[in-house]
């Protein structure tokens, strides 16, 4: 029983990170209709910046702030890059997909050149603190993951619901022509959406780097799990992404704990495929994932 509680806490902690990865994907998708296959690379970027800053002797908070700043710049640049051609024409899905895949290739390679290919771990501010569960001890960082994810989710939600820019973002998400007629500057909103997605990804990367060592090649599995989280919940639904992330994290940890590593690696893609076959719109989504024809 204690073992089950132990795995559940760890699974929820990992799931919180996937939830943030998925939240980044969803934020960009609702804001611009783009699926970002470079989301995992933004997480890796945040994690590695934080690792270099903290290992240079500055504190965890300084590392987090530096990561946020760098990732925000990356988000603005990517947003500007991807918004430029959209001013003139609608972009085709396949072209956007290879565009963000190209960004992913570039970022993975650059990260490998700058930080090396070795997995690096970030020292947690809660290192050495444990939550006792019976005779087992859960590192307190897993609780921090949950709290951090909740804070980020709350901030994003507050931004979307309570600020003027958030209102404009939701207008763009519901209908681009209508938002344009109401005076929303679409291009700027797309850059904002990219930046928020990048920020969410960067914070998620910093948080996860204390429990999973991060290498540039970690971007792909992180991104796939983020997509799994986003799609399980319904691609256009932030709360769904959180639910999806927790489901994937729990399933993965329980499979790894009670079965073996092969099953653990296959859980995220399997859950994703099963959900897509049974409920093409995601668990919380409308049935928009399937074509009606």
């Amino acid at each position: 029983m204690n073992q089950l509680i132990y795995f559940v806490i760890i699974g929820l902690g990992i799931g919180a990170v996937y939830a943030l990865a998925g939240l980044g994907v969803v934020t960009l998708f609702t804001g611009s209709g783009l699926a970002n296959f470079a989301q995992g690379d933004l997480m890796v970027l945040g994690a590695l910046v934080a690792v270099s800053v903290t290992s240079a002797g500055h504190g965890y908070v300084a590392g987090l702030l530096a990561a946020v700043a760098v990732v925000a710049v990356a988000g603005v640049l990517l947003g500007a890059l991807f918004t430029l051609p959209m001013r003139h024409r609608r972009m085709d899905v396949d072209v956007v997909i290879i565009g963000t895949l190209g960004v992913a290739t570039t970022m993975t390679t650059l990260a490998g050149i700058w930080w090396g290919r070795q997995p690096q771990r970030l020292d947690s501010p809660l290192a050495g603190v444990f939550v006792p569960v019976g005779e087992m001890r859960v590192p307190a960082h897993y609780v921090l993951l949950l709290v951090g994810a909740a804070v980020v989710f709350g901030l994003v939600r507050w931004f979307h619901r309570r600020t003027d820019i958030g209102l404009q973002l939701r207008a763009v998400a519901s209908s681009v022509p209508a938002a344009r007629d109401a005076g929303v500057r679409i291009g700027r909103m797309l850059v904002v959406a990219w930046t928020i997605a990048a920020l969410v990804g960067g914070v998620a990367g910093v948080l996860v780097a204390s429990v999973l060592p991060i290498a540039p090649e970690s971007a792909l599995p992180l991104g796939v799990n983020g997509f799994a989280a986003a799609i399980i919940g319904g691609l256009a639904n932030p709360a769904g992404a959180v639910l999806g992330g927790l489901v994937v994290g729990l399933a993965e940890t329980l499979a790894g704990g009670y079965l073996n590593d092969t099953v653990r690696q296959s859980v995220a893609p399997l859950v994703l495929l099963v959900v897509l076959v049974l409920r093409p719109g995601g668990l919380l989504g409308r049935a928009r994932g399937a074509r009606t024809v």
Partner: protein, 327 residues
Amino acid sequence: MTTIAPAAPARRDVSPARHWRWTQPGLLLTGGALVLLIDPGPFDLRVITLVVAYAVAATGFNVLVGFAGIVSIGNSVFLAAGGYAWALLATSYGPLVALLAGVVLAAVIAALAGVLLLRLRAYYFAVATLALGTLGTVVVRNWTAVTNGDAGITNVGYIKVFGLSGVPSIFVAAVVLLALVSFLQEALRTSPVGQAMIIGRYDPPAAEGIGVSVAYTRVVAFVLSAVTAALGGALIAQLAGGAFPDQFATTSAISLLVIPIIAGRGWRWAPLVGAAIVIALPEYLRFLAEYRLVVYGAAVVLVALFLPGGVHQVVRAVAERLGRSRG
């Protein structure tokens, strides 16, 4: 007085012109013979062979993305099916059985996955195939009884044609296969099934209205992409001297996806031109050392964003300019 905007120019991603079907296979075979005559060094011949192998693999993908308008990021599964079928069967049962087994295995996986997943809309299908590819890699790495895990299967032999041996023999086999699949690609484009794919891409309801089963043509396109990917996978395994998990990981699926798009979706030369860019360019950018993949990735982004028609767009613009100046 009201002015009426001119009708939007017809999109010509897939040229409606009928070519003489033997032109392209003929040119390919002649080009292959020329390469053998010139006899480039062993390194260059290896690179060229790899380009042709990827062109074979990407021909079906060109049909998938160019004709049917479907994006898959999981076609590494079908490369792996072809590669591992060759590695397991070629030495004991001969090349024909090995090739066919890979093709059949890939086609069955594609048909099952296609029936289940192709009702999904664009991004959902792309992510589903990404998951499929990830699963494929996990299976290949861990099913050690069959695939020998990370160590891979070595000593797989190669196809011997026209009394040649070594890389030239693989090269000739690859060129012949490319000529064959290029002929089939062109035959498909002018056939009712190919036309149905193209119509189903642009306007699914209208296609249904004139009696095209869009779901059926989409599954057919996906199976075709799997078939040529399996052929390409077998060639890649022969060239590398074995089948290894890393050869058939998600990176190779991304390469397969980039090939037709960077060269121009649905263009009949797209597989070869795209493969030359995607496979050969990084090899010859080695002077950039570790930055070559950065340049490659940036080039992909820029083409995707600012040149959506790929190389074909440039070729068409140049041809139009030449035609106009000639009068």
